[in-house]
């Protein structure tokens, strides 16, 4: 298969660097030759331990040209988590940049992975095209970094299906100059905000993710580069509406917001700031190649939780979430009746990496059970009302409580643990934790904190701790995270800063 490089220009507004299309071709060809020199072949996996810069996209396309599979990794993970992912995915090579923490490079080297800096390229070029349509193209690890990793595997076929569906459902001109301020190790930022427009020949403007100083300059940035499109998550707008002057030149033609549906009030506030009515929720899930539903005409009347119609997907709301039984028409909810949201799309992932057990828990007859709760209106538009997925949505970063539990359970003086979402002013949700300890001595708490710091990426660290005598469980012995949270909310959390300050004093 010839991987067409019908790419647009790449621009880093912050550094001022630009790669024209011909530069991209050259950089990809050089990296392809470099990968070949390192023995990368079809079917190999390559870790990309950096992102949100020009070189990331050249590395990605070079990996694909060789028929290998790219694995973008969040470089904020700890060495423990990276080692665990490397043990699972066994990459042949890992690509880093100057921002990759040295301990991660060392860990990978110790695991036998060849580590290469992204700027380590010479003049040699290769134009080989080894990719097959059903080859693995991308693995995005969404959870399990501390235990059994859960990696969403997309093939070239499923990714192309996503991009073709979006091209059919969205106005192409709106994406002429797309700004991506989202992380490129997430499906939302990578597959949809960045690659969808860029691989359709549109220009892509890429910045580091979630930087308040950049958000403070968002309006002038949009004006200066005549940005026509950007995607976003709600916390970006909380900050932008407070600290950033709106754009003045009315270049924005469309804005998406993902991760959690906007309230009608927040929706209108964003429209006012952006100077366009064409702002809508984009419902995205990594397993479906991210954006899978939304409003075709983004200037719809804002309503709480309104998503819209499927973009290259059939959306059904059923009374069941059971993937072990064949789906039956009589399980379908009536118009306006809430139930479980299921999706059928040719952009569905191939499955979870080496975890058929997990795949079978979410996919039945090609239908994907999202874990979201919603309903369809008389016009077949989807509204979201909540979710039953066991996850904490920290400003669009999905954190899995079981990843935190797995680390605490290995701490010798912890008897039981339950992580859960707590409300957060900025992120919507943050991480809370109830833990049962063999003693409540400050020394023990300090050591548990150090243990967590060593094993968990910082954004996953619980910000509020409660030490309990026991974790409430159901009669069947299961933890009900909502019940644990409710039990904790009745009492003050630990004054962790004071305890740790005592240690440091």
């Amino acid at each position: 298969m010839s991987l067409q490089l019908f790419v647009g220009n790449l621009v880093e507004p912050l550094s001022g660097r630009t790669w024209q299309t011909r530069d991209v071709h050259r950089e990809v060809a050089r990296r392809t030759a470099r990968f070949q020199a390192h023995g990368v072949r079809r079917g190999d996996r390559v870790f990309l331990l950096f992102g949100n810069r020009l070189e990331f996209f050249a590395e990605l396309l070079a990996v694909w040209r060789l028929g290998a599979c790219a694995v973008p990794i969040d470089a904020r993970l700890t060495a423990f988590e990276i080692e665990n992912l490397a043990r699972t995915a066994t990459p042949r090579v890992a690509i880093t940049d100057d921002a990759t923490p040295p301990e991660l490079t060392k860990t990978l080297g110790n695991s036998g992975v060849a580590v290469i800096g992204t700027t380590e390229v010479d003049e040699m070029e290769s134009d080989t095209h080894e990719a097959k349509l059903d080859s693995d193209a991308l693995i995005l690890f969404t959870s399990g970094s501390t235990g059994e990793p859960k990696g969403v595997v997309h093939t070239h076929r499923s990714l192309r299906a996503r991009w073709m569906a979006l091209a059919d459902h969205l106005p192409g001109d709106a994406f002429a100059r797309s700004l991506c301020m989202l992380p490129t190790h997430f499906g939302h930022g990578l597959i949809c905000n960045a690659l969808f427009p860029w691989l359709a020949g549109r220009d892509l403007y890429i910045t580091p993710p979630f930087r308040p100083d950049l958000i403070a300059r968002l309006g002038p940035l949009i004006d200066e580069h005549e940005i026509t499109f950007l995607s976003s998550v709600p916390p970006m707008w909380k900050l932008a509406s407070k600290i950033a002057k709106p754009p003045q030149r009315a270049t924005l033609r469309r804005v998406h917001c993902g991760s959690a549906p906007l309230s009608a009030a927040a929706w209108e506030e964003i429209r006012n700031w952006c100077g366009t009515r064409h702002v809508c929720n984009a419902y995205g899930i990594t397993e479906t190649g991210s954006w899978v539903a939304g409003a075709r005409e983004a200037d719809v009347a804002a309503e709480d939780g309104l998503i819209g119609e499927g973009w290259g997907a059939v959306v059904q709301v059923l009374r069941t979430n059971d993937t072990t039984q064949p789906l039956r028409a009589e399980e379908r909810c009536a118009t306006g009746e809430s139930g479980y949201v299921w999706l059928n799309t040719p952009a569905l992932m191939k499955g979870y990496f080496q975890r058929d057990d997990l795949t079978s828990k979410t996919v039945a007859d090609g239908w994907f059970m999202t874990g979201d709760i919603g309903f369809l209106d008389a016009r077949n538009r989807l509204y979201l009302r909540g979710r039953e997925r066991d996850e904490i949505n920290k400003g669009g970063m999905k954190i899995y409580p079981s990843d935190i539990d797995a680390v605490v359970e290995r701490f010798a003086r912890a008897s039981d643990v339950c992580a859960f979402p707590i409300d957060d002013l900025i992120y919507g949700q943050a991480v809370g934790m109830a833990v049962v300890l063999q003693d409540r001595q400050p020394q023990t708490i300090s050591e548990l904190y150090d243990w967590l710091k060593e094993h968990l990426a910082e954004h996953k660290l619980p910000s509020r701790w409660w030490v309990l005598d026991n974790i409430p469980r159901t009669s069947r012995g299961k933890v009900n995270r909502d019940a644990v949270r409710a039990a904790c909310e009745d009492q003050p959390p630990l004054d962790l800063p004071a305890i740790l300050a005592g240690k440091n004093a």
Partner: protein
């Protein structure tokens, strides 16, 4: 009589304690040290600092906008309060 800079600092530190990440003793931070770079707060915690300044000192950011750089240190925040309460 309006509170002194030292009294404002005491109040600011009390507030920062409520939003800080554990493990970074706030008492050891100098006025010029960067709050985010030191690991005391998350970069988006600037929103909470803005809310504090609006509520506690009635600072109105809607006209002049916000310079995230100025809100990045204890000294910078105190300077801003001084300017706004003159």
């Amino acid at each position: 009589m309006s509170p002194s800079r030292e009294e404002r600092k005491t109040d600011l530190l009390e507030f920062l304690r409520t939003i800080q990440k554990a493990g970074v003793p706030i008492e050891n931070l100098g006025e010029g040290e960067r709050l985010v770079a030191s690991g005391l707060i998350d970069s988006l915690a600037i929103l909470q600092i803005i809310s504090y300044l609006e509520t506690k000192y009635g600072v109105d950011f809607s006209e002049g906008g916000i310079n995230p750089e100025q809100l990045g240190s204890i000294g910078g925040i105190l300077d801003l309060i001084d300017e706004q309460t003159k």
